[in-house]
Every structure is written in C-alpha cells, then in structure tokens.
Symmetry: C2
Subunit: 202 residues, 2 copies
C-alpha cells in the first residue's frame, strides 16, 4: 500500500476506524471512505447515527443472550413458545435461519460465537456457564445443538453436548446430509459420506 | 437470507446503514454489526465519531478536487511543486501510489471516479469541465493521464485525451508493460501483448 503522504487527518481517521470492521483491510477501508465522502455523504451520516444508536440502545437478552432493547427479547417474551425446547445457536443470524423454517416453536440461546482456541475464544470467553445454567433451569427437556457444521462449530457442539448430557438432559444435533435440491455430483465428498452413513430406510 | 423475525430495531437500522458501504451485502453487514456489538463496542463508537468528523470537516480542494480540510490541499499549496505538470488520477489512493514513487514533482487533479456509463457516471457526473478548466489554466504544459488500465480507465483517458489535445495541450499516458519483478509466465496475455507491441530498442 502506498504511503499516505498528503491525506487530511479526518480521512485517515475514518479509514482507520473502518479497518476495525471484520474482513476490511486498508485498501477496502480507503475505497469505503472515498465512496462515502464522494457519493454518499448522507449514508455516512446515517451510518454514524446508526452506530451510536445501536451502541447506546442494545443490550443482551437476560435469558437468551441475543440483542434486545428490553430486558427480555421478543422471542423469549412470546407466550406461545415451548419452554421445554432450547435451541443453541452461534449467532442471531443462525437463529433467523431456524425461525425462517417456521418449523420450530421452542426457545433459543445465542452463544454469540463458537469455540476457536486459536482466536482466544474458549468456554470462559463464550460464557458457557451461562448457557448451561439456562439449559438446566428445570423447564428445558431437550437441547438442540444448531452450531455450524464446521470444525469449530462441531467442537462447540461436542463440548456442550458432553456438559449437558452429564446434567441428564436430552441433547440432539441438527441432521447432516445432502442439501435439499442439490445434485449429488456437486455435493462435497464429506457431505455425501455422511449422508451414506446416516442413510434411512425409505 | 432468512427473514429477520425478531431483531431489535437499532440492530436492523445498523445492518441497513452498513449495507450502504460499497461491496457490503446483507450477510456481511449482519456479520459486521454482530462483531461490533459483541466484540468491539469501542470500535463502533470510534467509527461513529470518525464518520461525523469526516463528513463535517472534509471538503474538496478548490484546485485538485481531492479531500482536504482547507480551501487548498497540502499538495496544491506546496511551493516546490512544478505547476507545469498536471497528473490526472481517479482517486486519492492512485495519487498516493504516484507520490510513493518519489518520482513526480508536478500537481494533480483527482477525478474521484472514472467513466462508467452503466453506473450513470458520465462526463457531467465527473465534472470533466472542471478538470479541463484546471488543465487549461495557462500554467500547465503537459497533462499525464494516470487513470487505471481497465476498460473504464482507458475510456476515461481516451475521452480526456481528445478534449485536452483539442485545446493544444501535450497529453501523455503512463507506460504499459510487464510489471517490474514479474516472471513472464505469470503475466496475463494482454499485458505481454502490449509489452511486445511497445517493445523498445535496448
Ligand atoms: Zn431472549
Ligand atoms: Zn489540491
């Protein structure tokens, strides 16, 4: 990257601040800053306000750990949710994916991450004790582990599964297999191998 | 993308605002918002402030169109710059690349974009009249076109070249060729073809 020989301080400061976004390097941050300043001043102001609003107004739900403005989020407050089912997900986006199926009526716990020892994310950083306390509140009968099917997600699920089963809870995991609508030819070998092992009578 | 069934309004607003950044879709915006709120609240506040500072303090240099806090930027104000040379670039980042060579002592004009008719960027949107007025101020003897070597950058250079030469100015373009330090095997065919056509006696 070329040295910034002549750029004004507020521009340098904006580029630095944008670099703190995940996945944004110096070149991308510069491009973003130029774009906002040149073509979308309103967008820049808008984003500035949205950031301070979000920081000041959002907190974690006392029960599920997702983001909320109140003490309890809308899902946790909902009277028709089945409190005997608890689905553990990594992020609010994963919760949305499950909600979008309209096939789940239980409650959630959002870890806000997954075990990643190399990045310093261990059970303490993710506050697993709080997740376990939530699952062992006496109402939950089954915990569905819906962490990602990646190495880190699997490790997270394994760790939680051990801890939860030792407390006598029923623990399940989302099924793995060939995605709906896919042609076998284009599915990765690991997925096909799993689907073969987990084959079901028709 | 799953429907956001239960997310609080400040989070939705932040995701929407982040989507206005170039190259950021809904999924990336969500990931950025979760990251800031979960792991970098300070970064979120910092970015919010940097945005309002930049919007309120930065303006375009009266002479070269780059970003500056004063009427004229540091480069334009510099007493030792050669005002008979004018280099036209697309962005301040491109200007930095040329400054980093320490091989150019003239002045700049920053277009803040390039011709891209499909995106609605024509000569009027880029205010080419202002660039031409700058180049024909009576002091400039040579205009170096340093727009990108992409289809859009070439079109921009071609357009400006025609207009500037019709005003009797000497117009040059950065040389194309094989980049320093590259092995021919790994250079794209178009570049090699150019380098061959533009071959020089040794
Ligand atoms: Zn909740
Ligand atoms: Zn200037």
């Amino acid at each position: 990257m070329a040295a910034r020989l002549s750029e004004p301080q507020p521009l340098l400061a904006l580029v630095e601040a944008l670099r703190r976004l995940p996945g944004v390097g110096e070149r991308t941050a510069s491009r973003m800053a130029y774009h906002l300043l040149q073509h979308d001043l309103q967008g820049a102001q808008h984003l500035g306000r949205a950031l301070s609003e979000a920081v000041s107004r959002l907190r974690h739900c006392d029960q599920c750990n997702s983001f909320t403005e109140a003490t309890l989020c809308g899902t946790c407050q909902h009277p028709e949710r089945d409190s005997s089912l608890l689905c553990i997900v990594e992020t609010p986006a994963d919760q949305n994916s499950i909600e979008a199926t309209h096939g789940y009526s239980g409650l959630y716990y959002v870890l806000m991450g997954r075990l990643a020892p190399l990045e310093g994310m261990g059970p303490a950083e993710l506050d697993f004790d709080r997740a376990l306390a939530r699952a062992t509140n006496g109402f939950v009968k089954e915990v569905i582990l819906a962490t990602s099917f990646t190495a880190e997600g699997e490790t997270t699920a394994h760790y939680l599964s051990e801890a939860l089963r030792s407390k006598g809870l029923k623990v399940t995991r989302l099924a793995r297999g060939v995605p709906a609508g896919s042609e076998l030819e284009y599915v990765d070998a690991g997925t096909v191998a799993w689907a073969l092992m987990e084959r079901k009578p028709t």
